[in-house]
Structure formats: structure tokens, C-alpha cells
């Protein structure tokens, strides 16, 4: 016990003298970021699974593009299931000359079956819970709609041709979907008013949700009865089996956050290793003395490791608490993308960060700490006797196994863990070698330089390994930040910039065949520049050469994306403009039963000329033979199609038309007239959609950046740790230089050079890497044009140099402040 007391006393002294400050800070950063991510993921996942029924709005849901057969509802009734249904679609709303694309949801009287609705009746924001939706003749609106359309409660809002009294503000609905279009503000109305809107017509793009609740056995029985009767465009979801998926954007953000937190752990780990190295070296003398006084090697190890365990326990506990707060911040940033009530955190996740803290400490601090065990008692007489450096395999082996475990924890996928680790290690080695090469180059050039530059650069070359770690830590963090910043902006800006000035900026969907001629006339009269009108039939690709299409795709590929949803199928006599025939021939005469497939989709699904493709439209099925493969430009803002059929193929199915057109800013009021004249037509304003998309991306990147700030902080801890490792030597050298007549200005300028070059190098490397990654990403994955950002080449290294110089010079301020007398005192 007395030994433990000694350990505690030493720990207390060291922490009071600031010896352990950096170690504690690094540990706090690692623990708080891991705790935040663990809590965030766990709460998100458990919200999704615990509230599955509520998120589905029922025990079982059938989704369908059309009303289901009455027999299905009768069967549900026979099984004593209670049912409700909702109809969702998009419509442009206009009031007070303001217009917005809204997501309309018409509900039946029994809605919601599970969960509750929350509403507010004024600006005060007091929420109340209700169990039924709006009465016929009334509508509940998202608060955003009120401000955009300049409405207040008690006003009238026209949905299509039906005026509805706005009575409540809707703040929460249980079954809100997490897809992109759910970001359009909500209008909830009663489905008895639906017919009067005039919006729903055969072929309209509408989603029907039939919801059921009842005894568990009855639900299973109903599902089994239902399954064989579903057509490919219908789905049945059961709250026990089909946990609602997070939207893909949120899913990716979660994965990216996990990886970012590994970055934080890695950088913090490097800082811990460096800080422990300095701690260890400063304890050689004391340890030699203790050895001289009779302490055995094992006892030395116990003495120090018990201090680190206590330190780890305290720092991890504080870090977990900080992580909890950080996680609250993360949910706040993403609040609009998430359900309103989030499942509480479990002790397990809170504990996860705690464990990470201890494991990181063990993984990164143990190897340098083990050196203390090696300290010889003879050092009391011969100070130059230093213990051996820790074995390389121990240092890197421990760190790598630790990081692999954490990656596995986030991915739950061995293959992915191995590939992330492999790519990570290779990148680190390549970058490390590159930096080493650069440092060697500087070393070679040193001879011809002035004293000031030599002194400055020698500071950087003094400890190659530490310099490489610092440059790596900063450049990797900056790369991650630059990527999230650039991708967000470029996706939208590049696309907008590429479009010709008069490229269509509006899409009109759901134009019924009898309206096409009127539409064309109106365009002509108003001098609106429009593209072709294409007929659209919603259908799904189900088989290629009689083999189910699901068997031919890899996950997340373009093909995978295309077969899990209804496609817009069209037909034309001639090849659409901006489409190029890549293989096969275009039909020259009336030849029903042929299809032309977009090239990239054909590649992804392995479709070749002459293949037989099976499609379903509603419950009907038909086949078509692949006559040609087309390439096309998706960014023309004109209707584009994966599948174009020969005329006559789709005649049997209800169709609507789609077109796009250009409206100058001055013509915007024409939109109101169009929307009023054709209430069933959905008009999408590209600007508005881009704006909504931008908001979504901004929130996701904010969440990711939130975590990257932790990485940046960890980077600065690495910098400080590296500075402190060499601080004693720097102080002696500074004092010696001043003894020989160097003034402070020279020393300060040399320090400035050292840290600026460090900042410049890591900044340039970060921009170089991010530009390379962006180039690959844009040209290979996103297919948007790549423009090198020249201002980043200037700004990032410059700001990085300034920031690192400020922090670095602050860290070494003692070198200037310690009197040169020290050099004599030290003798």
C-alpha cells in the first residue's frame, strides 16, 4: 500500500508541475471523441430499432404506387387488423406570389396507428400531442411553409384546386421517411379532400402506404398471405423484421464519423506516445536513484504503470463526460435530419469511450514507459547511460492491433477493416517516405543557406521522426477537412457552373396526355424555352434473360440503385438529342418490343445487345429486347432516361409526360399561372432543390467537421508534445547561442522559420493529397468536372503556417526567456 501511496504522490507532483498536461489533454481528446461517436451511433441505431413500429407508423406496412386491391383490405379485416392509409406526393404551393415545393400527405381517419402526432397552435412553440390527423377541409403545415408562403394560422391554402383552412403547425409525425424528398416541408391533410385537389390521376407519381396493426400472429399470417401477391413495385415491411434504414446520406455520415474518430484516436495516440517519451526521459535520473535504493525492475514498472492507470482512469472518466456533451452537440447539428425523440444513451456506450481511453493509453504509452524498467542503477554515476529504445515491433504492433480493433468495432466487417487498415498503412508509409525525402532534401540544401535559415531548418531536422509525425498529423487532418469542404461546395457549384445560361431550370412532371398540347401552346405564347415532352411510364426492371436482376449487381453500384426503385420508362421514335448510340441500331420503323439501355447501367448490370429484359408496370409484366446501348449527358437538365423503348411497346400502360424548361428570373411569375392552370402537374424548381440539397450537405459536413476539430486539436497536441520532447535541448542550445552573442530576434526568427516551414509543408502536402483525391473522386465516381482550386494552394499552407507558428513559438517561448546564465549553472 505504501508503494501505491508513493505512486500517487509522484503522480500528484508530476501533474502539478505540468509534466502530464499534454498526456492528459491527448487522452481527453481521444476519449471524448470516441465516446461522442459511440453514443451518437448507438443512440441513432437504437432509436431506429426501438421505434421501428413508430417509424413505420404501424406493425406492417404495404407501400405501393397505386391503391391496393380491395380484397387485401378485406383479408386484413377478417384477421381483425386495424388499418390506416396515407398518400404522399409532391406539389408546388403558391400563396402571396411565393411558391415552394411541398410534400403532401393525405391521411385516413385512423392514422396514426402507432406513435403520436405533435402539433403547435401558435408561435410560442408549445407542443401538444394528438392521436388523429387534420379534419376534412383543414390542413396542418410545417412551420417553414408558413413563413415562406407568408401564411398564418386561420388562412387558406390551396392544394391543387382545393382550398384548405390552415389550423395547426405540425412538428412531429411518427412515420416520416428519411429520404431526400422528406426534406420538402410537410402539408398534412385529410384524404377525403384528396379527390377535390384534382392532383391524383392515373399515372401520377404517388406513394400509397397501407398501415396495419393487430395481434402478432395475425400480422405474420397476413404477411404470408400477402407476399406472393405483391407485384415488384410493391413492398411489405414488418416492424419486427424490417428495421427502417437510415437514409443513405446519414448512413454514410455515420461511417465517415466513425473513421474520423479513428483519425482522432490515431493522432491523439501519437501525442500520447510523444508525451510519454518525454515523461520517461525526464524520469531516468529519479528511476536510477530508486534502483540504487534497491527497487527491482518489476517494482519500477509497477510504480510507473500504476500511476498511468490512475491517470487513465481519471482522464477517461472526464473524457467520457466531455464526449457526452459533444454528442449532444452532434445531435443538435443534425437535428433536422433525425427523428425528434432520440433513444437515451446506454451505459455501454458511455463505457466504450472509457475503455478506449485505457486501451489507447496502454497501446501508445506502454512502449516508451517500458524503458524506465531498463534504467540502470549505474546511471547515478554515469549519466550518459541511457536505456534501450523500445522494440519497433512493440511500438507499431501494439498501435496497429489497437487501431484494427477500433476499426472493426465501427465497421463490423473484417474485409473492410483489413482494407481500411491496408490503405491506411500504405498511405502512411508512402506519405512518411515522401516527407522523409523532403526533409533529406532540406538537409542537403542546408549548406548554402544563411545562418538564420540553417538554425530554423535544423530545428525541424533535429528530430526527424517527430517532424514526420507532426507533418502527417496536420496534413491528414487538413485533407479530411478540405475534402468535406470541397465536395460539398463543388458538387453543387460545378454543376451549376457547367450548365449553359439558358439550360432548363424547371422540370414539369405528371403532365397528363390531354394537357400536353395546351402546355406546348402556353410555352409558345409566353416565349418559354422548353425541351421535348417525353411520355413516362413508371416500371421496374425485374429480370435479364430470365434471371432475376438482383443476382447481377454488386451492392451500392449504379445498377443496384436502379433495380430497387421504379424507373421512368419512355419511348421515342428518334434518338433523343445529346444521346449517342454506342452499340446496336436505332429503330427505323414501328417495331414494338425493343429497348435502348443507357451505357453505364448496361455495364453495371452486364446487359448486352440482344438480351431480353423483363419489366413490370404495376402488376403487369412485359419483355423487351435490347436493340441498342446509348451514352448520354446527365447534366443537361433535360429529361434523361435509362430505358428508352420503341414506340408501341408501352401503349398498354397509363402514362404522363415530363418536360423541362427555362424561366429567366424575370419570368418567374409565369410559374404561378402555370401551377394554377395545371394543379396536377408537379413543377420542380432546380434552384430550390439544389438549395435543399445544399442544406442537407451542409448539415452533414458540419457534423463531420465537428469531429475533425477534435482531430485538429489532437494535431496541436502532437505539435506541443514534439516541442516539449526537445524543449530541454532547445533551452540549452538557445542559452548557448545567446552566450555567444545571438540576440533574441535571431532566435525568434529561427523558431518562426522552423514552425512556418512545418506548417507550409503540411499545408502543401494536404492540398496536394486532397486535390489528387478530389480529382480521382470527381472523374471516376461523381463524374463532375475537376477544377484545381488555386486559392487553396495559397491559403491553406499560409494559414496553416501562421497557426502552427503561433502555437509552436508559444510552446518554445521559454527558450527566449531562460537566461543564458543557465549554461553556466548547468555545469
Amino acid at each position: 500500500m505504501s508503494r501505491f501511496n508513493l505512486a500517487l504522490r509522484l503522480l500528484w507532483r508530476d501533474s502539478r508541475s505540468g509534466e502530464l498536461t499534454l498526456l492528459i489533454l491527448a487522452l481527453l481528446i481521444a476519449v471524448s471523441s470516441s465516446t461522442a461517436i459511440a453514443l451518437f451511433s448507438e443512440r441513432l441505431q437504437s432509436t431506429m430499432s426501438q421505434q421501428a413500429a413508430e417509424l413505420l407508423g404501424a406493425d406492417l406496412v404495404i407501400t405501393s404506387p397505386e391503391f391496393i386491391a380491395p380484397a387485401w383490405l378485406e383479408q386484413a379485416q377478417q384477421l381483425n387488423l386495424i388499418s390506416a392509409h396515407t398518400v404522399e406526393f409532391h406539389s408546388v404551393l403558391i400563396e402571396h406570389d411565393e411558391l415552394i415545393l411541398a410534400s403532401i400527405k393525405a391521411i385516413s381517419d385512423t392514422y396514426p396507428l402507432r406513435g403520436v402526432l405533435k402539433i403547435s397552435e401558435g408561435d410560442a412553440g408549445v407542443e401538444s400531442i394528438v392521436h388523429q390527423g387534420p379534419e376534412p377541409g383543414t390542413a396542418w403545415l410545417d412551420r417553414r411553409l408558413l413563413s415562406v408562403l407568408k401564411l398564418k394560422l386561420g388562412d387558406t391554402l390551396a392544394v391543387g384546386e382545393k382550398p384548405l383552412l390552415v389550423t395547426k403547425i405540425i412538428t412531429y409525425e411518427p412515420d416520416k421517411k428519411g429520404d431526400f424528398f422528406s426534406f420538402s416541408p410537410r402539408v398534412m391533410m385529410n384524404n377525403l379532400d384528396l379527390l377535390a385537389t384534382g392532383i391524383l390521376q392515373p399515372g401520377s407519381q404517388v406513394h400509397y402506404y397501407f398501415q396495419f396493426i393487430g395481434a402478432a400472429q395475425a400480422i405474420v399470417e397476413y404477411k404470408n398471405w400477402l407476399k406472393p401477391q405483391l407485384n415488384p413495385s410493391q413492398r411489405v415491411m414488418d416492424s419486427r423484421e424490417n428495421r427502417p434504414e437510415l437514409s443513405s446520406a446519414l448512413n454514410r455520415a455515420e461511417r465517415y464519423l466513425g473513421l474520423s474518430s479513428i483519425l482522432v484516436i490515431l493522432i491523439a495516440g501519437v501525442a500520447i506516445a510523444m508525451a510519454t517519451t518525454r515523461y520517461t526521459e525526464r524520469h531516468f535520473d529519479a528511476t536510477a536513484l530508486l534502483r540504487c535504493l534497491g527497487l527491482k525492475q518489476q517494482e519500477i514498472l509497477w510504480l510507473y504503470s500504476s500511476q498511468f492507470v490512475v491517470l487513465g482512469l481519471v482522464a477517461s472518466a472526464v473524457g467520457s463526460a466531455l464526449g457526452y456533451c459533444a454528442q449532444v452537440g452532434l445531435f443538435y447539428i443534425l437535428r433536422e435530419l433525425l427523428p425528434q425523440s432520440i433513444a437515451p444513451a446506454s451505459i455501454g456506450s458511455l463505457f466504450f469511450g472509457f475503455i478506449i481511453g485505457m486501451v489507447v493509453l496502454l497501446g501508445f504509452a506502454l512502449p516508451p514507459l517500458l524503458r524506465l524498467k531498463q534504467v540502470s542503477a549505474l546511471r547515478v554515476l554515469r549519466r550518459e547511460l541511457e536505456p534501450r529504445q523500445p522494440a519497433v515491433w512493440l511500438v507499431y504492433g501494439l498501435a496497429t492491433s489497437l487501431i484494427s480493433l477500433i476499426i472493426y468495432k465501427y465497421t463490423h466487417d473484417l474485409k473492410m477493416t483489413v482494407s481500411v487498415l491496408g490503405v491506411g498503412i500504405i498511405s502512411l508509409i508512402v506519405l512518411g517516405l515522401l516527407i522523409m525525402g523532403l526533409l533529406k532534401l532540406i538537409q542537403k540544401r542546408l549548406d548554402g543557406m544563411s545562418l538564420l535559415w540553417r538554425l530554423g531548418l535544423q530545428g525541424l531536422l533535429r528530430n526527424n521522426r517527430a517532424s514526420i509525425s507532426q507533418i502527417l498529423a496536420f496534413s491528414i487532418t487538413l485533407v479530411a477537412m478540405l475534402l468535406s469542404f470541397n465536395v460539398r461546395n463543388d458538387i453543387i457549384d460545378d454543376w451549376q457552373q457547367q450548365l449553359p445560361k439558358d439550360a432548363p431550370n424547371h422540370f414539369a412532371l405528371n403532365i397528363f396526355p390531354n394537357q400536353v398540347q395546351d402546355f406546348k401552346e402556353d410555352f409558345k405564347q409566353q416565349h418559354i424555352l422548353g425541351s421535348e415532352f417525353y411520355p413516362v411510364v413508371r416500371g421496374r426492371l425485374t429480370a435479364i434473360n430470365q434471371i432475376a436482376v438482383q443476382k447481377r449487381v454488386s451492392k451500392d453500384s449504379q445498377g443496384d440503385n436502379a433495380i430497387h426503385r421504379d424507373l421512368s420508362l419512355t419511348w421515342t421514335e428518334s434518338l433523343p438529342n445529346e444521346n449517342k448510340l454506342q452499340a446496336g441500331e436505332w429503330w427505323v420503323r414501328l417495331q414494338p418490343g425493343l429497348v435502348s439501355v443507357e451505357q453505364k447501367l448496361a455495364e453495371s448490370l452486364g446487359i448486352k445487345l440482344g438480351d431480353s429484359l423483363a419489366f413490370t408496370v404495376g402488376s403487369q409484366q412485359f419483355n423487351a429486347r435490347v436493340a441498342s446501348i446509348r451514352s448520354l449527358r446527365w447534366d443537361t437538365m433535360k429529361p434523361n432516361f435509362y430505358m428508352v423503348f420503341s414506340p408501341g411497346t408501352l401503349d398498354a400502360y397509363p402514362s404522363t409526360f415530363i418536360t423541362s424548361f427555362y424561366l429567366a428570373e424575370s419570368q418567374k411569375e409565369l410559374l404561378n399561372a402555370l401551377v394554377k392552370k395545371y394543379p396536377s402537374t408537379t413543377i420542380l424548381e432546380v434552384d430550390l432543390i439544389l438549395q435543399q440539397f445544399k442544406t442537407l450537405l451542409t448539415q452533414l459536413t458540419q457534423a463531420i467537421n465537428f469531429l475533425l476539430y477534435f482531430a485538429l486539436m489532437a494535431g496541436f497536441i502532437v505539435l506541443m508534445a514534439a516541442v516539449y520532447v526537445t524543449l530541454d535541448q532547445r533551452i540549452v542550445e538557445g542559452a548557448l547561442m545567446r552566450t555567444m552573442g545571438a540576440n533574441r530576434r535571431l532566435l525568434r526568427a529561427a523558431q518562426l522559420i522552423e514552425f512556418s516551414v512545418l506548417g507550409l509543408l503540411s499545408g502543401v502536402l494536404a492540398v496536394l493529397m486532397s486535390e489528387l483525391i478530389l480529382f480521382a473522386l470527381y472523374s471516376q465516381v461523381l463524374h463532375i468536372s475537376y477544377h484545381p482550386s488555386f486559392y487553396l494552394w495559397l491559403l491553406v499552407p499560409l494559414f496553416n503556417a501562421i497557426l502552427i507558428s503561433l502555437v509552436g513559438c508559444w510552446g518554445v517561448r521559454q527558450v527566449l526567456n531562460k537566461p543564458p546564465l543557465l549554461i553556466l549553472r548547468g555545469l
Binding site: 545562418l451 533535429r462 552566450t739 552573442g741 537566461p819 549554461i823 553556466l824
Partner: protein
Amino acid sequence: MKTQINQVTNSVIVTEGLAKSVLTSEGVLHILSSIDLIIKSGESIAIVGESGSGKSTLISLLAGLDKPSSGAIFLNGKSITMMDEDGRAALRNQLIGFVFQSFQLLPGLTALENVMLPLELRGDKTAKAAATALLHRVGLAQRLTHAPKQLSGGEQQRVALARAFVTRPAILFADEPTGNLDSKTGANIIELLFELNQENRTTLILVTHDHALAARCHRTIRLEAGCLV
């Protein structure tokens, strides 16, 4: 008064009533008291005394590394007492050379670069040539590009000697220059030190415990409890 002024102007180092005291938790501790010294150009002085007698404090004050609590110091006729640290640094660069017990070479620089450093700090363009010549003079022609850790203790002290003399300083402070060397190497270094001192006509101020070494100097100053005896 006139004699005093003459003494100040003709001497390299003059101190008047020099004292140094520090405040400790147990009150004021007097390290040096009333030191009056006149050291003439070209003189060699040995400062001897027990550990803690104030030897290091005295040379730190004489070299302008520290400020006295009271009294005045004149180097080459200029009072350094009122100068700030950077002013004294500039004066050190012009007038003073140092040799330390533990060599104090900068580990990141080669032998040549260590010797060039004081000249470069002056902005001397001939630093390389002068440093190379002096390293030849101390017998290290083959060691120019070696880092300090690649040199033996004796070789390191030779580099330190070359560094001290490369600026042809008016005053050289040597603090136990053989303290970290074996007796044979130490003797060689002392020979070299006195040779260089004569060649350069430097005023030598040597702190030592070695009476034989002290005897080779023109004068010996003994310190006891901070006072000249």
C-alpha cells in the same frame, strides 16, 4: 578619481563594489559581496575557491550573462550594468569567448559549423575559411564534418577552443575546461589553451580547482563565501 578613470580606460575588466544576492524563502542570500577587480589586457587570471564560493556567479557577471544586484562592471571601458540582455549579447559577441567544462557544442551542427557559429552571428563572410584554419590549428583537420557525438571528449574540447578563439576575443572565460577530461587529455588541452591565448593576446579568466593550472596564470583570485580574500 582621475586614477580610477585611467584604470577603467586601460583595463579590459573593471568592477566596482560588485554584489549579487538572491531572495530565498529564508531571506536574502548574499552570493557575492563588494568585489573590486581590475584586470588588464593580456593578463591571465585564475579564479579559485570552494564549491559554492561564488566562482561561477562571478564569471557570469563579468561575462554579462547575469546582472549584479549592485555595483558596476566595465568591459573595455563600457559599463554593461545598464545594458539590456540583447545589448550585452552583442557585446559578448564582439569581446568574449567561452570554454565550458562540458564543451557545450551544438549537437545538430558539425565541428566546422560549431566553430563558424560565433563569426556567423557577427555576419562575418569569411567564417568558413577562418573556422577551417583554426580547426587545422587545433589538429582537427580530418574532423571538420563530424557531429559532436562522433568526437571524443578531448576532440570536442578542441572544437570548443577553436570556437572560443575564432572571433579573436579580447577576453576568454574558461570554466573548469579540463573537468570532464582525463589528466593526459586535460594537460594537452591546457597547453593548447595557453598557446592560443598567447598567439591571440587574449585576456584569460580561468575558473579552476587545479592549483598547478592556477599557478600558470599571472594572478590568482581566491573567493571565499562570496568575498575576495
